[in-house]
């Protein structure tokens, strides 16, 4: 799926940058080090915004576009930070046939957050996930790990109200 650019302002700290520079220094001169650097960068910041990718580009001499290409190729890399409330709706087969697609669209609509991104204030992130292993409760979603099952489109408003 096409990745969405973030609208959340970058909140990186000098401490995080120091950690990132140490990671890059650790991998210096190592062949095939871009993946581990990017993975560790995501561990530090939680996602890989342009500010972080620019540091990696500057320090490694690899072009920013090449790094962005990698970041958008692998689903493990995130361009958006997790929201204060991270909403994950299961689009696995069982959930999907029971209507989780509609639930996801409804959440996206009500929060005005495109699927795969985070609200500009950083409060909500909305994403689709693969099977969560709770097919008996389909359709299922989690908000910060808390599981909601047997969802209907009509339930969305009440559930979201708890977090607003």
């Amino acid at each position: 799926m096409k990745k969405k650019l973030t609208t959340v302002a970058f909140q990186g700290t000098p401490e995080q940058e120091k950690q990132l520079l140490a990671v890059i220094a650790k991998h210096k001169g190592e062949k095939g080090s871009m993946m581990p650097i990017m993975q560790e960068a995501q561990d530090i910041y939680g996602y890989l915004p342009i500010e972080v990718q620019t540091i990696i580009a500057r320090e490694t001499g690899v072009s920013l576009e090449e790094i962005y290409g990698i970041a958008t190729f692998y689903s493990q890399f995130k361009l958006n930070p997790d929201g204060k409330y991270a909403i994950s709706v299961c689009l696995g087969t069982a959930c999907y046939v029971k209507g989780s697609g509609d639930v996801l669209d409804e959440i996206s609509k009500q929060l005005n957050v495109p699927i795969g991104s985070t609200s500009p204030d950083g409060k909500f992130s909305v994403e689709a996930t693969r099977c969560l292993g709770a097919c008996g409760l389909a359709p299922v979603m989690t908000i910060n790990g808390e599981v909601y099952g047997s969802l209907k489109k009509e339930d969305v408003k009440t559930i979201l109200a708890k977090y607003r």
Binding site: M1, K2, K3, L5, I50, Q53, T54, R58, V62, S63, L64, E65, E66, I67, Y68, G69, T72, F73, Y74, S75
Partner: protein
Amino acid sequence: MDMIKVIINGKEYSVEKGSTVLEAAKAANIDIPTLCYLKDINEIGACRLCLVEVAEMRGPALGPWRMVTACVYPCTEGMQIKTNTPKITASRKMNLELLLSNHDKKCLSCVRSTNCELQTLCREYGVDQSTFTGTTNHYEIDNKTPIIRDNNKCVLCRRCVATCAKVQGIGVIGANNRGFDTFIGSQFEKALAETSCINCGQCIVSCPVGALYERDDTDKVFEAIADPNKHVFICTAPSVRAQIGECFGYEPGTDTEGKMVAALKRLGFDGVYDMNLTADLTIVEEATELIGRVQNNGVLPMITSCSPGWIKFCEHYFPEFTENLSTCKSPQQMFGAVVKTYYAQKMGWDPKDIFFVSAIPCTAKKFEVGRPDQSAAGVPDVDVAITTREVGRMIQKAGINFRALADEKFDDPFDIGSGAGAIFGATGGVMEAALRYAAEIILGKKLEKVDFPEVRGTEGIKTASYKLGDLTVNVAVASSTGKARELLNKVKNGELDVQFIEIMACPGGCVNGGGQPIQPAKVRMSTDLRAVRAAVLYKDDADETLRKSQDNLAVKKLYDEFFGKPNSHKAHEVLHTSYIKRGLYK
């Protein structure tokens, strides 16, 4: 050289060990179709059009027949290869249909129609519609720079990506996203104008289809010609004459200067001028600047400034070197500036009524005309820069039978160019022209031998050392910005001590510029365009009696009547410019 035996379509051939199946077939005069393949630049087996059937020896017996991609599969001893079976044809057809299923088939008016590698293959394989229907991608056309990207026609071959990253050392384009969402673009969905792209256009000449092309400015030129109140002039860069013939079916490396001039006159320009003249003017200014820097402890090494792709590269990637750039405008800008100051004054014209067009092998020149500090007469020195391809299209559109034209000569008073000016279009040419001038000035006597073969040739980086009297001059030449990066890093690290550097952004120099006629991968596989095109310019030079810029009487006249002497105050006002420290991603 180790050779191995292979059997291609039932016939035995001896091929170089390590050859790919594609190379072996080529040596046997068999073309295997390719789309993503670009010799030495992009060999990734992505498009699957070069599929062939091979069977390799497994011990004493022949192994099973398999389909492999010829462009990356190495030949082995005793290998059997079939390049043209019904099975192969069917698979190539299928791949073409799959490509077409997500391709904007607006071929009728496509700028690459009849010169499109996809179209050629579709014709050969009888494919015109895809039997696959379903979702197609729709992309906005990125047209904010002289380089226009239309991803609706992109086949994701990655030839542009490889050229940008590997040849030019830039890498502002790449494949983003994955699977069906994959598209070629820049970081964080930025338009090319927001990146550190240098407008060199090497991506355009690498593109097999119509996904990349230059901004077409020919309508502006036709309109100006039709305006009775405008004096419309065109000057042609050294390498346009060496390549424009390719637009009309001539082999690469055919000099068609006379026909080009005749055709431009028939288009209705009020004057058709030779840019070799301002190449000479550039040499006089630039070499004088160099001698001045050497004598007055100025910033060294001095680096040439004729190539606007290189200038923008320097501003983005080596801003610490902008003081090293010669302040001379490029020959194109000098020409416009001379016409709009000196000539306007002489003829009693308002510079605003002059429309000055330059014909160039370059897409970066389209960016250069809009740069600040390029308006000596208060109006832009050059109004429009059009590529060799655009000149070709104008001539075609006007219905001029190029091949039937008799040779004509450039117009007075800007018709004289030296051999030194002619070789400006090839890597090492500006260096050689400058040496012909500087050597004579430093030695204080006429130069017997004007050839400096050490700086000629298609090598990416060349260095030479010359002893001129008591003075030793070390010089270096680089072509392609990838090689320029290598060279400048050496200068930065103190590994290389030189006084004068020539850099051209395109590999091989302007003859291989981003605005030149596009030759398909098939031709680029067997012909080194850099060498055959440059040979035209070196022949021009050798055939000239006028070999040195300083002997050009038209240049002398400019100094006598207008500038006084080289690097005079007036010359600085009109012929020199300034640079910007851009830095990366700006």
